[in-house]
């Protein structure tokens, strides 16, 4: 009882990266708390899925295997997870801030009347003292996230309600196998105990999933553009540089909102978090909501005309100049000097 739970999402029968990242984080939080790490997986025909989760230090894997759970649907998933949580009384529940996780999390939190913090960039364990009642809450989950368009960083706690729920974007936490031979316990969920007929009211008529074409997360070199690039056409320069260097093109939220690049390329709190060897920020001012997603890059080059741009303060190299002049020169000298 009162353990740490991670909702593990599947994509074509495989756990998605963010779930494994959360198991890794969950393992270290559970160690601090001295509790067990438990995972909950829903799907159809997923025999043996537990073996993919145990190596991350998962002590218990709860599996709900039922044809009705083949694809994510709000109501049946909510009923199973909220029902399981009522029985198991977790102290913490984490889920990926995927389209499914952001649909499921608030529904479960509303059903259980527990607080939920979206898109956390950091999770820690700590105490909280309330002066008015002279009470100290021990070992709370600090849910840390940028707020207000990224202009402040807020630490959120849930002192009185359980589970303490948080969602985290893919790539924010690191994924790490604890021990390939780690064996936990498998528990099967009796799905019919939780799902009501009315949970199946919404039907999926059609699904078109595309293979993930753009993968900025695993790129070693990223050339990113911001609103300062000015237009979609100007992004062509970035593609050219990324092509020459063997990297990928990314964009800030402002650039994505302006239609310069697709959402799948967005770096930042509401996009993807990246840790490339080299991050070249072109025409990006560097609001915290963007830098939260790239400040762990190995080296950062900022190219812009604004000597006061916040991005400059986290950059290793600041090139003061026009992107349209600097990038062709980078390409030229790279071609001239690279072997």
């Amino acid at each position: 009882m009162n353990n740490l739970f991670v909702f593990c999402e599947l994509d074509e029968g495989k756990p998605v990266d963010v779930s494994l990242e959360l198991l890794t984080k969950g393992r270290s939080l559970a160690n601090t708390l001295g509790c067990r790490l438990e995972a909950v997986v829903l799907g159809s025909g997923i025999e043996g899925i537990e073996n993919e989760l145990f190596p991350y230090g998962t002590d218990v894997v709860h599996v709900a295997d039922d044809p009705e759970l083949e694809h994510y649907r709000t109501m049946p998933y909510t009923s199973v997870i909220a029902g399981l949580f009522r029985q198991e009384q977790p102290q913490i529940a984490l889920m990926g801030a995927t389209t499914a996780g952001r649909d499921l999390g608030p529904r479960v939190s509303s059903a259980l009347h527990s607080g939920l913090t979206a898109d956390c960039t950091s999770l820690e364990i700590g105490d909280h003292y309330v002066k008015k009642t002279d009470t100290t809450y021990k070992n709370l989950l600090y849910q840390i996230r940028p707020a207000f368009g990224g202009n402040i960083i807020a630490t959120i706690i849930n002192p009185d309600h359980r589970p303490q729920m948080a969602t985290v974007r893919e790539g924010v936490m690191k994924k790490e196998i604890v021990n390939r031979n780690y064996r936990g316990e498998l528990k099967r969920i009796n799905v019919s105990e939780f799902i009501r007929p009315e949970d199946l009211a919404v039907e999926i008529i059609e699904r078109h999933m595309e293979a993930r074409r753009v993968d900025i997360k695993s790129a070693q070199i990223i050339v990113a553009g911001g609103y300062g690039m000015g237009s979609k056409e100007n992004f062509d320069l970035l593609y050219e540089l990324a092509d020459v260097l063997g990297g990928e093109v990314a964009a800030s939220r402002a650039a994505v909102d302006a239609g310069f690049a697709g959402h799948e390329r967005q770096v930042g709190q509401t996009g993807v978090t990246v840790r490339p060897k080299l991050y070249i920020a072109c025409g990006i001012s560097g609001q915290i909501q963007h830098t939260a997603g790239m400040n762990q890059s190995g080296k950062i080059i900022a190219i812009n005309n604004d000597s006061m741009a916040p991005i400059n303060s986290i950059a290793d190299y600041v090139i003061n100049g026009d992107v349209s002049e600097v990038i062709p020169r980078l390409i030229k000298f790279y071609k001239a000097n690279a072997r």
Binding site: G149, V202, L330
Partner: protein, 287 residues
């Protein structure tokens, strides 16, 4: 098919997308006064979906429901200018400090009172980016939800909704009553209609009328009143509102201070760029 009753959930938000250097006060708190208050962008996408259903099915009504301070009546007028039929402002001191769960509790009570067939809201508001209120309202109503909608229509009494997911699209069929949240990839909202602006520019809440002296206009045209509901009107339990009704608490707020590194400052000259490229090649960062 006969028309349906739609409630659009909308929020007035500070425009966090255009935050200038004076947006933060010296003590590190947000200076709301300098940020313009706007109709949350995705709630406008939601309003457009509601108006499209109204265009298609005669007898459909669209009510804009918002919770906020008195000045949030501005976005109800904005909704009326674009084609909504009426609006309800949920406002009370007791609502202040509500997190998403307490907010969804209050909105749920108001929705129950309005008894619509369909609730449509934006996916998320730009001041919090949580995307929680829509699903939380749906759960409290006990209704199904469809999130990330970008296109929807009625078919034999069910909503057919196309959803935008991270890796593709999914089309679902859902029964009414239903809560739908709309993505920014859905069509933009239509512009204000000049005739409707003329009709509704004096639409006021009772509270606004007390401070303004346009009373005579409101009396002359009773249909241009904006409904205002407080805690009592929706029968809310005060313990479930505001700070006491919010499971999540803000422990700490930090102003954003970026850690300074010793950066090398370069110009755009050939010499500087070439030496940079050589340095990156030598350190095997590139190449």
């Amino acid at each position: 098919m006969k028309g349906i009753k739609i409630v659009v959930l909308a929020k007035q938000v500070p425009d966090t997308r255009n935050v200038g250097p004076d947006a933060m006060k010296a003590d590190g708190t947000v200076n709301r006064a300098v940020l313009p208050a706007i109709f949350n962008p995705e709630d406008l996408n939601a309003l457009e979906q509601a108006l499209r259903i109204k265009d298609m099915y005669e007898g459909t009504t669209v009510t804009v429901l918002t919770m906020g301070p008195g000045r949030a009546a501005e976005i109800i007028r904005e909704g009326l200018y674009r084609g909504a039929d009426d609006g309800v402002l949920l406002t009370d001191r007791a609502f202040a400090g509500s997190d998403t769960l307490a907010t969804s509790y209050a909105l749920t009570l108001a929705v129950r009172k309005l008894a619509p067939d369909l609730v449509i809201g934006g996916r998320q508001a730009i001041d919090g980016d949580t995307a929680q209120v829509g699903p939380q309202v749906a759960e409290k109503l006990g209704w199904p939800q469809v999130t990330y909608a970008e296109e929807m229509h009625l078919d034999h009494g069910r909503m057919i909704v196309r959803r935008r997911l991270e890796r593709g699209v999914e089309t679902v069929s859902a029964p009414l009553p239903l809560v739908v949240t709309v993505n920014s990839t859905a069509p933009a909202c239509r512009y204000r209609n000049a005739r409707l602006v003329m009709k509704y520019k004096y639409a006021r809440t009772d509270t606004e009328l007390q401070v303004e002296s346009t009373d005579y206009i409101a009396h002359a045209r009773p249909f241009i009143r904006i409904t205002e509901w407080g805690v009592d009107a929706v029968g809310a339990d005060i313990e479930q509102l505001g700070l006491s009704g919010s499971p999540t608490k803000v422990k700490e707020i930090d102003n954003v201070i970026l850690q300074s590194k010793e950066a090398k400052h370069l110009s755009a000259s050939d010499k500087d760029i070439e030496s940079l490229v050589k340095e990156l090649l030598e350190s095997h960062t590139i190449g």
